[in-house]
């Protein structure tokens, strides 16, 4: 259960990558934006319509190649409630095509408030007896600065609904060390302590493979920490951002995998979404260019790590 579904899709497609759907408006070809503005004006509705059509075209081309997509909530929230509607519809569209959906929300709170986030993104909301689905994700990224009170409300739901989470452990950004690399009295770092907590929470969500339903976000830009964490936290599956545009390559992410080529899923967003710009392809070819880049990324990584599973 939990992240098993993701692992199975990775093995089936022999591809340990996820396409990040971070649809900044400037990533979307002009013709597509203009079509949406013609219908809805230059409004949040118009922009959200362009995002949804961009995403669906990408999903059509990416679905045979990648096991998962990862929409980043921020870009949908930036388009207000129409953006959130486009997020929900993108997720439904992707799941109907067999993709695993990781909602990148980095949500965090405690108790019943965290339960509300869990229901929002991984479960159902009870409206006086009707159980309705707000956003149909398979896994959610979360921030555990608040401790177990912020994570436990997710675990029961994950068990029941067969879902997973990814906890921020060591992020890919230059300043991630300001807090995460601080040394504790026991000689370990803050991010190491977070990894310890992931392993503990994971005991409550064992999977069919060695990995639990509690994964960790560990950046591709810190290969040394990736190697250390892969060894120290053998039951924690990694979601690795920072590949491609952020600077990480196949060699940088290789330490995230175990000897079976499992243990991690590598995200790329901009390099896939903007492949048509980089290739200087006609803008109508944006989705096919994204698929070509997804294949290149898959091949670069699998050449390095070998057969998966």
């Amino acid at each position: 259960m939990s992240l098993d579904t993701l692992i199975e899709k990775i093995i089936e497609k022999q591809n340990p990558t996820v396409a990040g759907l971070d649809p900044k408006l400037e990533y979307i070809p002009r013709f597509l934006r203009e079509e949406s503005y013609a219908k809805y004006g230059k409004t949040l509705e118009g922009a959200a319509d362009a995002v949804l059509r961009f995403n669906c075209a990408l999903i059509d081309e990416l679905a045979p190649i990648v096991p998962a997509i990862k929409p980043q909530c921020a870009y949908y929230e930036a388009l207000g409630w129409p953006g959130m509607r486009a997020l929900a519809e993108t997720m439904d569209y992707a799941r109907e095509r067999g993709l695993f959906v990781i909602t990148d929300g980095k949500r965090n709170d405690i108790g019943t408030t965290m339960e509300a986030y869990a229901n929002a993104h991984l479960g159902k909301t009870d409206v006086d007896g009707e159980r309705l689905t707000p956003f149909a994700g398979d896994a959610l990224t979360v921030n555990a600065y608040l401790g177990s009170d912020g994570i436990k409300p997710l675990l029961g739901l994950c068990k029941q609904e067969d879902k997973g989470i990814f906890v921020l452990v060591k992020t890919s950004n230059p300043s991630s060390g300001e807090l995460q690399d601080q040394q504790l009295k026991n000689g370990k770092s803050v991010y190491y302590q977070m990894g310890v907590m992931c392993e503990q929470w994971g005991e409550l969500l064992p999977g069919a493979y060695v990995y639990s339903g509690v994964g960790a976000v560990v950046g591709a830009t810190y290969p040394e920490q990736l190697r250390e964490l892969r060894i120290e936290f053998p039951h924690t599956f990694f979601l690795v951002p920072g590949y491609g545009a952020q600077g990480g390559g196949a060699d940088d992410v290789a330490p995230a995998f175990d000897a079976s080529g499992l243990g991690a899923v590598i995200n790329a967003s901009r390099s896939i979404l903007c492949a048509w710009q980089k290739e200087n392809a006609p803008e109508q070819e944006f989705a096919k260019a994204a698929a070509r880049e997804a294949v290149r990324m898959r091949d670069a990584i699998t050449t390095r790590i070998g057969r998966i599973g």
Copy 2:
């Protein structure tokens, strides 16, 4: 600038409290829910309509009493995109009535993604030349586990648009210590280190009072830490949850204030929203009961801390 507007409203109303709008469906009187279901069915739209009408009635009664409201995003997201529309409309309604709006989203990410969150909640999104407002908050709660890369994208916008942020420092929940109380090599705690960073970020957003535009979330359930942090971080304004239903009282929150009665705003959610239930008042009186509880809370705190400003 920044949190000055909040401080001015606190002085004007002689009330250092904020009403948390965390509209769980069971908090909403049945007659109101039934009216909304009659129009939209037991759907996310129906539930969101009930939430909006509940909030607007509360805001009408609370606006003369409290300086600010704090909607908790989780409860709106749990109603999908219709919930997010109710959030945006609640915020507009509150601001039109002169209330300061603190969006409790605990958002966090880095770089351009954090910029998207900043635009979503405190700024404007550029849709090919049209600058549109997704969610019109005055301040946003954020989680700084990712370091400066997650905060700096907010500061420029806060300066330009006269907005503020509240960074999670020491939260009110029982397990907050698992990470936040860990001792660093220098003998200080993780939450103290976070407070140090708040003071540093705050230097970029000086206010007209001694407080910067970078505030901190510090729970009412840890009065000792409140006292320590008030002294150590004299330029950081506190948002204090945990009053009322979570167990904190006027004595517990008093250490959050400086000698002028400034330095903090105390949040209560359930005790205000559910005052009609606790008072055994007729359900039609829910908003007036909320106002009575808001007055009781204001009086309990101001009796303890004296005249503000």
